[in-house]
């Protein structure tokens, strides 16, 4: 049986029919064509599929689309401004080489966006705790940690 649901994705209400077992990650990618959200392990370990649900980062592979009917969701596609200018977090990742292959990056960007909204000037320990649920197999994390601190600076400059 299919269910008709509405998700407010990146500010736009999207109506979609999905079976109950459709994971939010698959709904975003397959039903809505938003392939920026990546799917790594599908059991909550890698963090690639992290999106913002009502502003809080969650695993979209551990959430059913039907459960979040009516909710507001932000994916990596929604982080940049409406004029296409990258967000502070996105620019910091580019500037600090916080990515190599880029597969894990959408998850990191969503996680870090929420982290800095909560805690605008995190310490090193808070950054490491904050990103501990996201795996990166390329960078060795050093540049990601640098990017988070740089993003905090950029955000501070802009407000």
């Amino acid at each position: 049986m299919e269910h008709e649901i509405t998700l407010v994705v990146n500010g736009t209400a999207r109506r979609v029919r999905v079976p109950a077992r459709r994971l939010l990650s698959d709904c975003l990618r397959h039903d809505l064509g938003l392939t920026g959200t990546h799917v790594g392990c599908e059991h909550g370990v890698c963090g690639c599929c992290t999106v913002l649900l009502e502003g809080r980062p969650v695993r979209s592979c551990l959430t059913f689309a039907v459960t979040v009917d009516g909710a507001e969701i932000t994916t990596v596609e929604g982080l940049a401004g409406s004029d296409g200018r990258l967000s502070a977090v996105q620019r910091a990742f580019a500037e600090c080489h916080g990515l190599q292959c880029g597969f894990c990056t959408p998850g990191f960007l969503c996680t870090v966006t929420a982290l800095l909204a909560d805690n605008p000037v995190p310490t090193d320990d808070e950054v490491i705790e904050g990103i501990s649920g996201n795996l990166c197999r390329c960078t060795g994390y050093q540049n990601i940690v640098k990017a988070v601190h740089r993003a905090a600076e950029l955000r501070a400059e802009e407000t």
Binding site: A20, R21, L23, H43, G47, P57, T63, F64, T67
Partner: protein, 288 residues
């Protein structure tokens, strides 16, 4: 992988949720941070899923001098931020990662009853309880019962809840006056389930005498609770011997992550650390 198909129920109130559970052989979905991985890996394939996320009134927590009652939909992160109970708050920081805690629920962790999980041990060491509700079809109304922690954790991944029951809240009793608490664990990676862990509560009486209770995770079929009783003056208590008693009470199993002997060794080390830290905090709280 993808979850197997199931029939989906999304009740709007508690009565509807309980009636559904009385009618069908359903699995309850709250935060889904343990259940959905099990579905994705096809370790579980329930015919019916009862999603309680829209049931009103289950998200609230209530703090009284007696303790904290946590509603079935209270997320780990909310309860952690509320910081209403020192041991619960400390344990929550050890549960998976912050992103998982945004969605996972405290009561869900209890019902999941993973022997390596922190929250069952916290409920057990405090002597808390879980409130279960079911629909009485003959009477046409909900029936509640309070299940004490020592009866709630039946075995690995098994709680005392009946198939038609819903855990609506859990009660974590406040620490007695003059108490300190600690949670110590060792895991292979930050955020993983622990190889072994020990939480301890040490209560220092007005006479300066210490009483201690500990609960271990990852080394038995459920939380292993050891009531160490009266241990003499807090400053001269024999924590090493007490930790040895905790260690002897556990019967760890071997798996690919650690041998049974290593786990037992860890319990001894962690128990002593937890007891000493809890005692220090208890002594400070008592002003001893």
């Amino acid at each position: 992988m993808k979850p197997p198909p199931f029939e989906y129920h999304a009740p709007r109130d508690l009565g509807a949720a309980l009636r559904t559970l009385a009618e069908v052989d359903g699995k309850v979905l709250a935060g889904g941070q343990s259940l959905i991985p099990m579905l994705n890996m096809r370790l579980a394939a329930p015919a019916h899923l009862v999603d309680i996320n829209r049931v009103g009134g289950l998200g609230a927590s209530e703090v009284t001098p007696e303790g904290v009652r946590v509603g079935a939909l209270a997320r780990h992160a909310e309860v952690e931020r509320a910081a209403a109970h020192p041991l619960l708050t400390r344990a929550l920081k050890l549960v998976a990662h912050p992103v998982i805690r945004n969605r996972g629920t405290v009561v869900g962790s209890l019902v999941h009853a993973d022997p390596a999980a922190e929250l069952p041990a916290v409920l057990a060491v405090l002597g808390g309880s879980v409130r279960a509700a079911r629909w009485d079809t003959a009477g046409g109304g909900p029936v509640l019962r309070e299940v004490p922690a020592e009866e709630f954790f039946v075995g690995p991944m098994e709680s005392a809840l009946g198939p038609d029951e819903l855990a609506v809240s859990a009660f974590f009793p406040a620490l007695p006056e003059g108490s300190g608490a600690a949670f110590e664990e060792v895991s292979r990676r930050h955020g993983d389930y622990a190889l072994a862990g020990v939480c301890a509560v040490v209560t220092v009486g007005a006479d300066g005498a210490a009483r201690a209770r500990a609960a271990c995770v990852g080394v038995g079929a459920g939380p292993v609770v050891v009531d160490l009783g009266e241990l003499g003056p807090v400053r001269r208590a024999g924590w090493k011997a007490a930790a040895a008693l905790v260690r002897e009470a556990t019967d760890p199993e071997e798996d690919i992550h650690a041998t049974a002997a290593y786990r037992r060794h860890l319990v001894g080390v962690l128990a002593e650390r937890a007891l000493r830290n809890a005692a220090r905090e208890g002594a400070a709280a008592r002003g001893a």
